[in-house]
């Protein structure tokens, strides 16, 4: 499992590559936490290369969102595969987070807001 952090202008984009399960999730959480600084408005999670997501992974997303909520920061997702979409739907993440089919749309929306 690799986390690659890119920058789309001022917005950090975290690309998750591999499987996010009980074994790999703690590392992902730590890497994402070190990416977000207090005051960060948006973090985009790019799921295009996310092969598998277990409940451990879901928890990490909610924990990051909780941390960012302290300063009204937002966690946004994009490019989920079918497998991951199903899991997102089951848990109801689409009611808690914005999920976009493509990275560009996510970035466009963020820039629109600013």
């Amino acid at each position: 499992m690799h986390v690659i952090i890119n920058q789309a202008g001022k917005i950090p984009v975290a690309i998750l590559k591999g499987r996010m399960d009980a074994l790999t999730s703690p590392d992902v959480k730590n890497q994402l936490l070190s990416t977000i600084n207090p005051g960060l408005a948006v973090l985009i999670i790019d799921c295009s290369m996310l092969e598998y997501l277990s409940s451990a992974g879901i928890r990490v997303f909610y924990q990051i969102a909780k941390a960012m909520a302290d300063w009204h920061g937002e966690l946004i997702f994009c490019s989920t595969t079918e497998v991951v979409s199903e899991i997102f739907t089951m848990v109801g993440m689409h009611t808690d987070f914005k999920i976009f089919p493509h990275l560009d749309e996510a970035i466009a929306l963020v820039n629109e807001k600013n």
């Binding site: 009980a22 277990s54 409940s55 451990a56 879901i58 928890r59 909610y62 924990q63 909780k66 089951m90 848990v91 109801g92 009611t95 808690d96």
Partner: protein, 465 residues
């Protein structure tokens, strides 16, 4: 030294080192050695053991020594050095004497006094190092430095106790000081490496055993959380419940429970906590307490209007507190009314159960999708109703069943589950559950279980007067 000499020397040293490696591995795995190095029990017996073993090392080293002119290039001192460093002065001296005296009589090229004395001294000094360090075995580098010092001492003694007056500094060096120094250091490093490996292995073994004991206890505690078989049946109905739970690891996140609300109503639930293993099991414990409290409240205050959706709301609010790690749980709660032949249920993102009628019809009740418990405030939980007749089997399960994988990577899937239910439409709840688990295990073909598994089947019938 010619090139041929150097090659022969290297071969001889490598042979000796190989012997040390094998012997070290065997010796360090004896019970006696474990006693000495781990428990530091320095009885006379242990010291004797070390003296003999490492004295033998010293003797063997001489036979495998490389003969160059009048000198023996050997790993003789290594034995007493090890004995002294790990076993103290008695062991070191003992091994030193055995090795030293043998050396004196083995070869009389003029260096025998210096060599024997060094061997004896090496054991003694190693023993003193042991005392100074209060029994703590030196690290690899410390031991190597010690060995190097003894080698320098050795050559100094040879230089000083010249027995035939022909030694000077250059010939001492030429006589293989450097190779011996290198070989002895390497031998000591190898032995210490093997020895510290052993220590680390035993310590982690100990830690592992302690952990396993705690896990066993955890499993017992969790097992006692499971509901007892329905001992007190209601008067007018006979209820048959059979369940099966198997965690993926020692303990897990799948659980079920049931409560007899009154003479004709049974509350039954099944849940699946996020993750697996101990973290999930801890959360199960919490869920059960909360659900148990909810049922108590319902029994006491809302007896007539008992509603599973309200239980989910209550549980959700409770689980949102003190939940930094964002654990969540999918849950299905059903309230069976045997008189009305109705199932009132609410589902928080859990796998939808099946109702298998005796005539073979299988259906899953329609319901409104809702969120798992513990994630967000104010999710909307609603209760739905469906018919459940006497003789019908209500089958609750967790996704460990449908997501069981075989070596090819295929899932057991809802299809196979449906087929198994159809094949068992006339079976008792127990037969159905057992057959299902057998099917799942046969399907998985020995592939390790990747998620907790739980199945509960129940049916009811009126008691004939």
């Amino acid at each position: 030294m010619t090139i041929a000499d150097i090659i022969k020397l290297i071969i001889s040293l490598v042979n000796n080192l190989a012997f040390i490696l094998i012997a070290a591995y065997l010796v360090t795995r004896t019970k006696l050695y474990t006693e000495i190095i781990l428990e530091k029990r320095l009885t006379l017996k242990n010291s004797l053991f070390l003296s003999v073993i490492f004295g033998f090392f010293a003797i063997y080293a001489d036979y495998g020594a490389f003969i160059y002119g009048k000198s023996l290039i050997s790993l003789r001192d290594l034995g007493p050095e090890i004995a002294g460093l790990i076993g103290g002065p008695v062991a070191g001296l003992g091994a030193g004497f055995i090795g030293g005296i043998h050396r004196y009589f083995y070869s009389s090229g003029g260096t025998q006094i210096a060599c024997s004395v060094t061997t004896i001294l090496s054991g003694l000094i190693a023993g003193l190092v042991f005392l100074l360090r209060k029994g703590k075995v030196p690290g690899i580098w410390g031991a190597v430095i010690f060995v190097a010092s003894i080698e320098i001492l050795h050559n100094f003694l040879v230089f000083v106790i010249r027995q035939d007056g022909s030694y000077d500094f250059i010939s001492i060096i030429q006589a293989g000081f450097l190779p011996t120094l290198f070989a002895n250091s390497l031998g000591m490093a190898i032995f210490m490496l093997i020895s510290t490996n052993l220590v680390r292995e035993k310590e982690s073994d100990g830690a592992r055993q302690r952990m396993e004991k705690e896990l066993d206890l955890a499993r017992e505690i969790l097992a006692s959380l499971l509901p007892d078989p329905l001992v007190k049946q209601p008067d007018r109905f006979s209820i048959n419940i059979y369940s099966f739970i198997r965690p993926a690891r020692f303990v897990g996140g799948d659980f079920y429970d049931y409560y007899l609300l009154d003479d004709s109503r049974l509350l039954i639930l099944i849940g699946d906590v996020s993750d697996k293993g101990i973290p999930a099991a801890l959360f199960v414990s919490r869920c059960k307490s909360i659900l148990g409290s909810a049922v108590k409240v319902i029994r006491a205050y809302y007896h007539e209007e008992a509603d599973p959706a309200r239980i989910l709301e209550f549980a959700n609010e409770e689980l949102l507190t003190a939940n930094e790690t964002c654990m969540f749980v999918t849950l299905f709660i059903g309230l069976l009314d045997f008189e009305k032949q109705e199932l009132l249920f609410s589902n928080a993102a859990h796998t939808n159960p099946f109702i298998v009628s005796a005539d073979g019809k299988i259906h899953q009740p329609e319901y409104r999708k809702a969120r798992p418990l513990g994630l967000k405030k104010d999710p909307e939980y609603v209760s739905c109703t469906t018919m459940i007749n006497p003789g019908d089997k209500l089958v609750l399960y967790t996704d460990g069943i449908t997501e069981a994988m075989n070596p090819k990577g295929e899932f057991f899937s809802a299809n196979r589950l449906l087929r198994t239910l159809a094949e068992n439409h006339t079976s008792s709840p127990e037969e159905l559950v057992r057959n299902l688990i057998t099917k799942v295990d046969l399907f998985a073909l020995g592939q390790s279980q990747n998620d907790d598994i739980a199945v509960v089947a129940m049916s009811y019938s009126p008691v004939n007067e």
